[in-house]
Amino acid sequence: MRLNCIINGAAVSVDIDADARLIDVLRDALALTGTKEGCAEGECGACTVLIDGLAVNSCLVLAAQVEGRSLLTIEGLASGDGANALQRNFIERGAIQCGFCTPGMLMSATALLMRVQQPSREEIRRALAGNLCRCTGYEPIIEAVAAAADEMAGPA
C-alpha cells in the first residue's frame, strides 16, 4: 500500500507493507536511521518520534497509522546546518555519551517543550521516564532540557 504523510516538513509518499512498523519504514525505506531501535517493545524510548507533536514509540506504531499525519524525526531537529537550542545544550552539558538514547531523548524533550514552555525538573523527569539511558545518569539530560527551555523562553 501507499503511505502519504509529512516528514520533517516535506511531503513523503512511499510504498509500504500493511503490517510494516513505522520504525522500519523510517529506517529502511526512507533511510532515516537517526531513529534508533533499542528494545522493540515500547520500553526504551530510543525510537521516539513526534506524530502531530506527540511523542510516540515508533516501534509500536504501524506505518499505516500515520497516513496524512505530520511527523518529526531527529533528522528534522537541527536548524539548517546547526544544532538547535536543545541539541546545543545536550552537547554542551554532557547529556550525550554513547549517543544511542540521544535521538529519542531529544524527541521526547522536544514534545515536552512544545507542550510546556518552562517545565519544572519534576515535569522533565516524568516526560523522560520512558527514555532509558545507561550512560549519563540522566541529570545532565534534565539540566540540558531545563537550560534549553530557559533559553527559548528568552530573558524574563
Partner: protein
C-alpha cells in the same frame, strides 16, 4: 597544582553533533550493497543433545539464502574472550554452533536471508530434534558429585587459593564475623543491541564491522577460527551505543564472519533485546562467604573470602574474572592476613563475562556489606572502621608486591564524610513509621590498566602534523561513549599547546591503526593517555629540533608555546608549527611524523567512596534513594564533564544492581527477562540527585596524575545502598537485589535475630 590550558576543561566529544542530529552511523545503521540478514536459532533447552536439524522447510521460505549449523560449520573450539594468541586463562570450549545445547539461548543454527523477516521466518521453520539432558542451574548443584557434566572434564572450571600475611594473635575481645553475600546475574543493558556486519570479498579478504572493544583481539579469534591469515582479516571498530563490558568479548564477530564467508555476501546480524539479555553475556552470579577477625579497636586482623561463581555454559572470561575478585581487597585495606579461595563452575545458564568493574563491584559488595556488620557488632561508626583500615599512599599490595601508588582513598572518605554531613546524619533515628530513613557508605578499589607480572602493558601510536599545523592521531581508539577520543585530544593539545580541535582522531581499524590490546581494564586514560602524552612530547622535540636548524640556534634555547616554537626568553622571532612543517619538508625532505610505543610499569589503585540516603517503605518494601555523593580518587580530571558523566552513569547502574536489576532463571533454565519489560532499569524519574567530588593530585604514571574512572565509579554503589537499607531497617540483607519481596521477608523475620540471610557455609 600545575596550571593547565586544556586539561580539566570540558570540550564535548568530536562526534557529539553527529550524535545529536542522528547522523552518526552505528552498526545497525550501516547498509552494505547487497546486504543480507542473519537470524539465530537458539536452544529452548538448558541442556540437550541435538539429534537432528531439519532445515528443509526453512529453505523453502522466499528470500532464504542458507541455513547453517554444526552439521556444516567447523567444529573448532575457541574462546570468545581471548585477546592474544595462546593467552593464559583462556579455555577453548565454545563453537560456532552447538552440538550439545548448554543453556537456553545457546546458538544452534543461523538463517541468512535477503530480509530480516525472511530470516526470522526461516528460523521458525527449522525443526530440531533434542534429547533433553539433566540441567545444572546453579554453581552449588554443579559441584555436587553426581551433577551432570556440562563439558567433558567436569563442571569445576577453575579454582584458586591466594593467601598472604600472618594473622596476628587475636586478642580476647576481637570479634569473628561471617557474612554470606550473593550477587545476581546482570544485563549490561547498553541501549544499542548487539550487532555485527561482515563481508568476504572475491579477493579472499574478510572485513568485519563491529562496535567492539578490541579489533586486534577480534582478529586473532576470527582469523584463527576460520583459518585465515591475519592480514586477510580486517576488523573495523564502528560507533558503539554503549558496552559496559558487554561488547568486550567476541560474541557475534565469529559467527557473522563465518556466515559472510559461507554465503559470499555481506551479512548483518542484530540481536533483539531478549537475545541480548539471554544469549550474549551477563555479570556472573556469585556468592562469597566473608569471614573476618577484627580487634575491638576496629583493625582487621584476618580476612578470609570463599567465592563460588557460576560461569554459565562457556568459560569466556570467568576464570580471570574470579581471579580479579581476589585482587581488590588487599589494595583497599591493610589486613593482617588475607586468604581468598575461589571456585568457578560451569552451569547451564547464560554465559557470564566481563562487566564494568570486572570483579571489583562484586567483591566490594561482599566485603563492604560485611564490614558494616562488623562495625555494628563492635559499636563502631562504619566511617571509623574504614578509616582505621584503608591503605595509605605508597603501600605495597601484599598479594602482588606492587605499590598501590598515589592511593588517596582516605582523603576521599574524609572529604566525602564532611560534604555529606555523615557524622551528623549517621546517628539520626530511622523512624518507626511506615517510612524508614538512613544513610550508608561504602568504599571500593580497582586498577589502572593491565600491567601485572603476568601480562605486559603496551601500545603504539602515531602522530602526524600537517602543513597547516593540524594533527592526525593514528591510534587504535575504541570509543565506548566515555570520551576516549576527546581525552587523548586534550592531552596532546596540552603538551603541544594547540587547541584540541586541531587534532583529528580515528577509531581502531586493524588494517590501518597501530596495535593496541583494546579499550578495557581501565587502561585508556591512565595508560593510553600517558602514551599520548609521551607521543606528543616526541613531536614537540621534533618540532623544536627542526626549528633550531631552520633558525640556526641551539634547540636548548627554544620552546613550544601557543602553536609556535619560540626562543626561551620570549620574543617573536619564532616559527609557527605550520611554517616548521612546510620548511622542514621543502628544505630537509623531513616529515613531522612520530611513532611511539609506550610501556606500562605500574598499576596503582583507583578508589571511590560513596554515601547515600535511602527511604524504605516498610509496607511495600520499596526503596527510594534520596541522594548519592560519590568521591573519586581521580588524580587528575582530563575532561571534567566526561569524568562526572562516568560517575553519574555508574550510579544509575549500581542502584539498579542493588535494588531491581536481575536476570532470573526459572526451574527449566529459562531467563525470566524477556526484555526491558521484565528487566527494570533505573529511569529518569527514579534517579536521585548525585553529587560528584573529585580528589586531584599529581603522581603515578598517568598523564598529569590522571587515573581511571569509568569502572571504579560503580564499584561501591550497590554496597552503599544495601548498607543504607540495612541501617534503616536493622536488617542484615545480603542477597541482591533488594527487591520488595526480599525486604518484606526480612522484616517479617526480624525478631529476634534480625536477619533471614543464610548463614556462612
Amino acid at each position: 597544582m600545575a596550571a593547565f590550558k586544556y586539561v580539566g576543561l570540558s570540550p564535548p566529544c568530536p562526534d557529539a553533533f553527529a550524535k545529536a542530529s542522528g547522523e552518526l552511523r552505528y552498526a545497525t545503521d550501516l547498509r552494505l550493497a547487497g546486504m543480507s540478514y542473519a537470524c539465530l536459532l537458539t536452544s529452548p533447552h538448558a541442556h540437550a543433545r541435538i539429534d537432528s536439524i531439519d532445515a528443509r522447510r526453512a529453505l523453502q521460505v522466499s528470500g532464504v539464502i542458507g541455513v547453517y549449523s554444526h552439521e556444516d560449520a567447523p567444529a573448532t573450539r575457541y574462546c570468545r574472550y581471548r585477546i592474544v594468541p595462546g593467552q593464559a586463562g583462556c579455555v577453548d570450549d565454545e563453537s560456532l554452533f552447538a552440538v550439545t545445547a548448554r543453556f537456553v539461548g545457546d546458538r544452534i543454527a543461523a538463517v541468512v536471508a535477503t530480509s530480516p523477516q525472511a530470516a526470522r521466518e526461516g528460523v521458525r521453520r527449522i525443526e530440531v530434534g533434542y534429547t533433553p539432558l539433566p540441567a545444572v542451574l546453579s554453581a552449588e548443584t554443579a559441584l555436587e558429585p553426581d551433577a551432570a557434566h556440562i563439558h567433558a572434564g567436569g563442571n569445576l572450571l577453575h579454582r584458586f587459593d591466594h593467601a598472604t600475611g600472618d594473622a596476628p594473635v587475636a586478642p580476647a575481645d576481637a570479634v569473628r564475623t561471617c557474612t554470606r553475600v550473593s550477587t545476581q546475574m546482570l544485563h549490561h543493558a547498553a541501549i544499542e543491541p548487539h550487532t555485527c556486519l561482515a563481508n568476504f570479498d572475491a579477493s579472499g579478504r574478510l572485513t568485519v564491522w563491529s562496535p567492539c572493544q578490541s579489533v586486534y583481539g577480534a582478529r586473532t579469534v576470527v582469523a584463527d577460527l576460520l583459518g585465515l591469515a591475519y592480514n586477510k582479516v580486517r576488523i573495523v571498530k564502528v560507533p558503539m551505543g554503549g558496552s559496559f563490558g558487554g561488547k568486550q568479548e567476541f560474541i557475534l564477530e565469529p559467527v557473522t564472519a563465518y556466515l559472510a564467508m559461507r554465503t559470499g555476501r555481506p551479512v548483518c546480524l542484530t540481536l533483539d533485546r531478549e537475545a541480548c539479555i539471554r544469549s550474549t553475556m551477563v555479570r556472573a552470579q556469585q556468592r562469597s562467604d566473608v569471614r573476618s577477625t577484627v580487634g575491638a579497636d576496629g583493625l582487621i586482623l584476618d580476612l578470609e573470602v570463599d567465592t563460588l561463581l557460576a560461569a554459565g555454559a562457556y568459560a569466556s572470561s570467568s576464570p580471570d574474572y574470579s581471579e580479579a575478585m581476589a585482587h581488590k581487597l588487599t589494595r583497599l585495606y591493610r589486613v593482617g592476613r588475607y586468604h581468598h579461595r575461589g571456585r568457578v563452575a560451569y552451569t547451564n545458564t547464560p554465559v557470564a563475562g566481563g562487566m564494568r568493574g570486572w570483579g571489583a563491584p562484586d567483591i566490594a559488595t561482599c566485603a563492604e556489606i560485611h564490614l558494616d556488620q562488623v562495625a555494628s557488632r563492635l559499636g563502631l561508626d562504619p566511617l571509623e572502621i574504614r578509616l582505621r583500615n584503608l591503605v595509605h599512599p605508597g603501600d605495597i599490595d601484599p598479594l602482588t608486591g606492587h605499590s598501590v601508588g598515589e592511593a588517596w582513598v582516605r582523603r576521599c572518605l574524609a572529604r566525602g564524610a564532611e560534604a555529606f554531613g555523615w557524622r551528623e546524619r549517621v546517628g539520626l533515628p530511622a523512624g518507626t513509621g511506615r517510612i524508614r530513613r538512613a544513610v550508608g557508605l561504602a568504599c571500593g578499589a580497582h586498577k589502572n590498566g593491565i600491567f601485572s607480572d603476568a601480562f605486559p602493558e603496551a601500545t603504539t601510536m602515531t602522530l602526524k602534523m600537517n602543513e597547516d599545523g593540524s594533527l592526525d592521531l593514528n591510534a587504535s581508539i575504541h570509543e565506548v561513549g566515555a570520551g576516549s577520543a576527546v581525552t587523548l585530544q586534550t592531552i596532546i593539545a596540552e603538551e603541544l599547546d594547540v587547541a584540541p580541535q586541531m587534532i583529528s582522531t580515528r577509531e581502531a581499524d586493524s588494517e590501518s591503526t597501530p596495535y593496541d590490546f583494546g579499550c578495557f581494564g581501565s587502561r585508556l586514560t591512565y595508560f593510553c593517555g600517558a602514551a599520548a602524552r609521551a607521543l606528543a612530547a616526541k613531536m614537540r622535540a621534533r618540532l623544536i629540533e627542526a626549528a633550531a636548524e631552520l633558525l640556526a640556534v641551539a634547540s636548548e634555547n627554544l620552546c613550544a608555546a601557543g602553536g609556535r616554537v619560540v626562543p626561551l626568553g620570549g620574543g617573536d622571532s619564532g616559527l609557527s608549527y605550520a611554517q616548521i612543517v612546510q620548511a622542514a619538508r621543502m628544505r630537509y625532505a623531513r616529515d613531522m611524523i612520530v611513532t611511539h610505543t609506550h610501556r606500562g610499569t605500574s598499576n596503582p589503585g583507583s578508589y571511590c567512596v560513596q554515601f547515600a540516603e535511602v527511604e524504605v517503605d516498610v509496607l511495600t518494601g520499596l526503596v527510594r534513594v534520596n541522594e548519592v555523593l560519590t568521591v573519586v580518587d581521580i588524580g587528575r580530571a582530563i575532561n571534567r564533564q566526561m569524568v562526572e558523566g562516568q560517575c553519574r552513569g555508574a550510579i544509575q547502574s549500581g542502584i539498579g544492581s542493588a535494588l531491581c536489576e536481575e536476570v532470573t532463571i526459572d526451574g527449566a533454565g529459562r531467563t525470566g527477562a524477556g526484555g526491558f519489560k521484565n528487566y527494570h532499569l533505573i529511569n529518569a524519574a527514579d534517579m536521585p540527585p548525585v553529587r560528584v567530588l573529585l580528589v586531584e593530585h599529581d603522581g603515578d604514571e598517568g598523564p598529569y596524575g590522571a587515573k581511571s574512572v569509568g569502572e571504579i565509579a560503580v564499584v561501591p554503589t550497590a554496597a552503599t545502598i544495601v548498607n543504607a537499607v540495612n541501617r534503616a531497617l536493622g536488617t542484615r540483607l545480603a542477597t541482591l537485589p533488594l527487591t520488595p519481596d526480599r525486604i518484606l521477608a526480612a522484616l517479617g523475620d526480624r525478631a529476634p535475630s534480625g536477619s533471614r540471610e543464610p548463614a556462612c557455609g
